[in-house]
Every structure is written in structure tokens, then in C-alpha cells.
């Protein structure tokens, strides 16, 4: 069972530049969460702060009673063994082949025999589609493969918390879809808490239970996925639809003058309705995903606190599921 991660009033800045401030949220235990945000809003910095690689100047990150920001290195190092982090470009050790890379955490932290290590490593490599590539060095494979190897290494100790830094970048859409399914399956199997940082809308709308968005040095919202997917907040709506018109500009944000000129030219833009795609289900043969069960209980109990559109979307999804049928077929998938 995963561990809850509580972030309280986290503020980070490099010199005089504030990256984000006063971020507070809770990653519920055993559920999958996604942090969205335009490029350069400090999503990666946020991930690294959760695991204690970067030390924000204010706030706390509580994992199982350990403050990853303020506690002693010894405690933080011990707590890190509960984490698996998948780096943006894999961060494989260049001097070791893939097999040794993925076996590294096992050799460091367990007393398993070399035979058992071999079994686990090969199984994980198969899982991410890297079977047969054990002898390759990280420099000899493509970026996408390095990424998948990074995921295999993050999974090898069955961590209770998995953090993924842009799992989709450098992957083609098909591999991205496989990876999304893989993440859901991993969550089903190990019931770990998961946080995925991405700006891929496909992942964001189909994988997570909860979703948040960082923009302009603030956490815009964090909550059940339906809240963000139905949000009329100009920033969120613009981002989810990939529009040019809205507060997000080519550089981090638009200034007031550009925005006003835009408003004059296009009038008040109608927000296109967005269909909420069903959430991915675990692959056939796997048991029910406990994270989803807990989330649905939690969300249904607090339904009245959510915005009306989100309530409707959640009830629709709930109705669909309780009718017992599989999720509605995707229109373009032939029967």
C-alpha cells in the first residue's frame, strides 16, 4: 500500500527568481496524480523537492513522518528508499550496461542472490519492452529506450511512491499509450502512490485519479481529475485545449497589453466543450485497482464541495461504471 505525501506551504526560488510559492497539496495514498504545467513552470523542480534533492526555502514535504525538506540527511536518505524516481532522460549510469543499471538498487539495498536479481531485472526489462537489450550501454540506445530503462530501474525495488518526470517526452504516441497502461497496471499491482509530471494531455486526461496544475508560480488547483478537466479557469481551459488564445503565452505568460489586444480581436472566446475521456482500466486479468476504489469513496463523500460541472462529470462516470459495462468504446476503435 502506498504512502500519503503531504506538501505544506512549499516555496522555492533560485536567487531572486521565485519558481513557485506556497504550494500545498496531498497526494492520496495509492492513487495516481498528475501535475500539469507549461514548460518552465518548475514541474521537475517540484518533483526533485518532493524527494529531497532540492531544498525549498519554506514549507514541508511529509512522507511517513519524515520531512524531506527539513530533516537530517540520514532520515531523508532512509526515506528515499521508499521512492522510485524516473528521470526525464533516464539518468542511467553511463559506465554500466542496462542490466547492471537496473540491478543497481537491488545490489545496493537487498541481500538477494545474483540469480534472484537476474529474475527480477529480466522481468522488469520485459515489462518495459527492453527484453534482450541487457548488454547495451546507455550511450548505445535511443532516448525513448533510456527512458523506459529508467522506469524499469525505478520499479525494481517495488517502491511505495513512484515519481515520473515527463514519461512521454521522446516517446511516440503508441509507446506513450503503452506506457500509460503500464503505469496504471503498476499502480494496480503494487498499490503505490504515483505522481506523474507531464504536459501531455493524453496522459493527463486518461491516467490519473487526481490532477493539479502549476502556472505562474502558483498551484492553480489540485483535486479529482474531473475538477480540472471541466474547469473554466482560463489558464486551465487554454492549456487543456492547446489554444493560443488565453493567459499562457510563448514565453511563460502574456502581458496585459497583448491580452487586451487579443480580446479585442477575437472577442470573448467561447470555451470549447471538452469530452472527458474515461479513465484507463487495469489490463484484463489484473484485480480491481484499489486506488480507484478508495478515490471513488473519497470523492463521493465530498462531492458537494466540488464545482457543479465536476459533480456532474463524476456522477456520469460513476453511473457508467455501476451499470457494469466496460467503459464506452473509443469512437475510432473498430469493433
Amino acid at each position: 500500500m502506498g504512502i500519503e505525501v503531504t506538501v505544506e506551504g512549499l516555496t522555492m526560488s533560485f536567487g531572486s527568481q521565485t519558481i513557485w510559492r506556497d504550494v500545498s497539496l496531498t497526494l492520496p495514498a495509492g492513487e495516481v496524480s498528475v501535475m500539469l504545467g507549461p514548460s518552465g513552470t518548475g514541474k521537475t523542480v517540484f518533483l526533485k523537492s518532493l524527494i529531497g534533492l532540492l531544498k525549498p526555502e519554506k514549507g514541508r514535504v511529509l512522507v511517513d513522518g519524515v520531512d524531506m525538506v527539513g530533516d537530517s540527511d540520514r532520515k531523508v536518505f532512509a526515506a528515499r528508499k521508499k521512492f522510485g524516481l524516473m528521470f526525464q532522460d533516464g539518468a542511467m549510469f553511463g559506465s554500466m550496461n542496462l542490466y547492471d543499471n537496473i540491478a543497481f538498487p537491488l545490489r545496493e539495498h537487498t541481500r538477494k542472490s545474483e540469480k534472484e536479481i537476474r529474475r527480477i531485472v529480466l522481468e522488469r526489462m520485459d515489462m518495459v519492452g527492453l527484453g534482450g537489450e541487457e548488454r547495451k550501454l546507455p550511450g548505445q540506445i535511443s532516448g525513448g529506450m533510456r527512458k523506459r530503462a529508467g522506469l524499469a530501474r525505478a520499479l525494481v525495488l517495488d517502491p511505495q511512491i513512484i515519481l515520473c518526470d515527463e514519461p512521454d517526452s521522446g516517446l511516440d504516441p503508441v509507446r506513450t499509450a503503452y506506457l500509460s497502461q503500464l503505469l496504471i497496471d503498476v499502480n494496480t499491482r503494487t498499490d503505490c502512490t504515483m505522481l506523474i509530471v507531464t504536459h501531455n494531455i493524453e496522459i493527463a486526461s486518461t491516467v490519473p485519479d487526481n490532477m493539479g496544475m502549476l502556472f505562474r508560480r502558483d498551484l492553480v488547483t489540485f483535486g479529482p481529475r474531473e475538477v480540472l478537466l471541466t474547469s473554466r479557469d482560463p489558464v486551465v481551459a487554454q492549456f487543456l485545449r492547446g489554444n493560443r488564445h488565453g493567459p499562457i503565452g510563448m514565453s511563460e505568460e502574456k502581458d496585459a497589453a497583448t491580452l487586451a489586444a487579443e480580446a479585442e480581436r477575437f472577442g470573448s472566446l467561447k470555451v470549447r466543450e471538452m469530452e472527458i475521456p474515461p479513465q484507463l482500466e487495469p489490463s484484463p486479468g489484473l484485480p480491481e485497482r484499489m486506488g480507484a476504489v478508495r478515490r471513488s469513496q473519497r470523492v463521493m463523500a465530498n462531492l458537494h464541495l466540488l464545482p457543479a460541472e465536476a459533480q456532474e462529470a463524476i456522477q456520469n462516470a460513476h453511473r457508467r461504471r455501476s451499470m457494469g459495462g466496460p467503459p464506452p468504446p473509443v469512437p475510432w476503435a473498430s469493433a
Binding site: S13, S16, L53, F77, A91, F104
Partner: protein, 287 residues
Amino acid sequence: MTAPPQGPPPPPAAPEPMRPRVQPVKVNPSDYMPLAGGLRQTGQMFALAASVLRMTFKRPFQVRELIQQFWFIASVTILPTALVSIPFGAVIALQVGSLAKQLGAQSLTGGASVLAVVQQASPLIVALLIAGAAGSAICADLGSRTIREEMDAMEVMGVSPIQRLIVPRVIACMAVAFCLNGLVSVVGVAGGYFFNVALQDGTPGAYLASFSALAQLPDLYVGQTKAVIFGFIAGVVAAYRGLHPGAGPKGVGDAVNQSVVIAFLLLFMVNLAITAIYIQVVPPKGA
């Protein structure tokens, strides 16, 4: 009583003003003190040196990495060191020999040049080669690993890069420095002997006899101690710059360059301090 509203209705509420583009700058006073940056770097380097010492005694010790590094450092330094030490010993022998001749103390040439080689020249040659050949390689290796986030990855997996990578490298530097210093002392003294006897018409007997007239065993001890300390400094400086390179590949290149320069500066300073202390603590023979 309130008057009924008159005139045109109020304009629709203006959209919430955007936050100004330029955020109020939080001034961190230490950013503006030129000295503070240097002090911070120095402090961090001392902290690294302290953690290296502490982690040396922490289990599990990385024997394999130590052997690999020792082998690597030895292989890149042995040949250059031997090649440098022969002419260096010869130069000292020639210089001291001609000076001794001018003073009319030819019989003491051997002792004087041995003192110069064993106490000063040998540890410095070793240190320069360790810092230049091994330190630059260590710094480049660690630096490129740092920018590829390998260090972060290691920390995330709960493995300390200091214990795993840096302790073996620093110890290897010290051990190689110790061994090389012995080699350089022998080669330097032998070179000095050869040049003194062959080129300056010195007598072999006088050269050897004057060893014990001027030199004493603590001279060798301090030479070896120096070499070990220099090896430590070269290793720690290279590791420190390698762990904190600038951004990107260019940052690594700059870091390698700086590590060699910083190590050289420190070595000469520390050498001055050790020599001054040694001369006070161990009185020269016959004084």
C-alpha cells in the same frame, strides 16, 4: 435612505488585473558581496573534505571501485612522473653541485640535493601530476556524471555518491601519491647521483657519505606525509569541482580547468605551511 441608482449602469467589472510581470525582487544580501561567494565555495569544499573523511569509515567500503581507481590513476601518472623526475633530480643536482662548488663545500653536495629532492621536489612533482593527470580525469568524469543527473539518480536510490564514488577516488589519489613519492625520491636521488658523479666530477663516496651528514629519516617521513596530504587535496578539489560544474558540457570543461588551477594553488600554499612547521618542529641535523 438610499437614492435610486441613476445614470448609466456601472461598466462591467474589469478583468482581474494581471500580476505585474516583474516580481518584487527579494534581495539576498550575500548575493551582492563578492567575497561571500568565495567563502561559500571554500566552506563547501571543507564540508566535502570532512564528509569524505567521515564516510571513509562507513560500511560498506567500495573495494572494487578503489582498486579500479587506484589502477587507473597509477596508469596515467607513473610514466609521466618517472620522465619528469629524472631531469628534475638532475637539475637540482647540477644547481646544488655548482653552488656547493662556489662555496667550497663539494663534499656536502649529495646531502643537500637529497634534502631538496626528498623534502620538496618529490612531493611536489607527485602532487602536480596527480592533480594534473588524475585530478582532471576525475573531475571530468564526475562532472559529466553530474550533468547527466547520475549523481541525483544515485542519491534518489538512497546511495551516497560521496561514499560510493568520491571516497574511493580520494583514497586512490592518496595511495598512488604515497607510492609514487617513493618512486620519485629514488629516481631523483639516483639521477642526482649520476649527474653529480658523471658530469661534475663528484666522488661517489663523498656523495653517499654526505647523505647521512645532512639528511635524516624524518625528512623522508615528511616527504611521504606531504605526498599523502597533497593527494588528498588534489582528490577533494577534483571531486568538489566535479560535483558542482557549471551548466552544460561547457560547465564541465570549465570545472576541470578550475580544479587543476585551484589544486595547484592549494598545493603550494599547503607545502609552504608544512615546510615552515616541519623546520620548527624537527631541527635540521647539526644545527
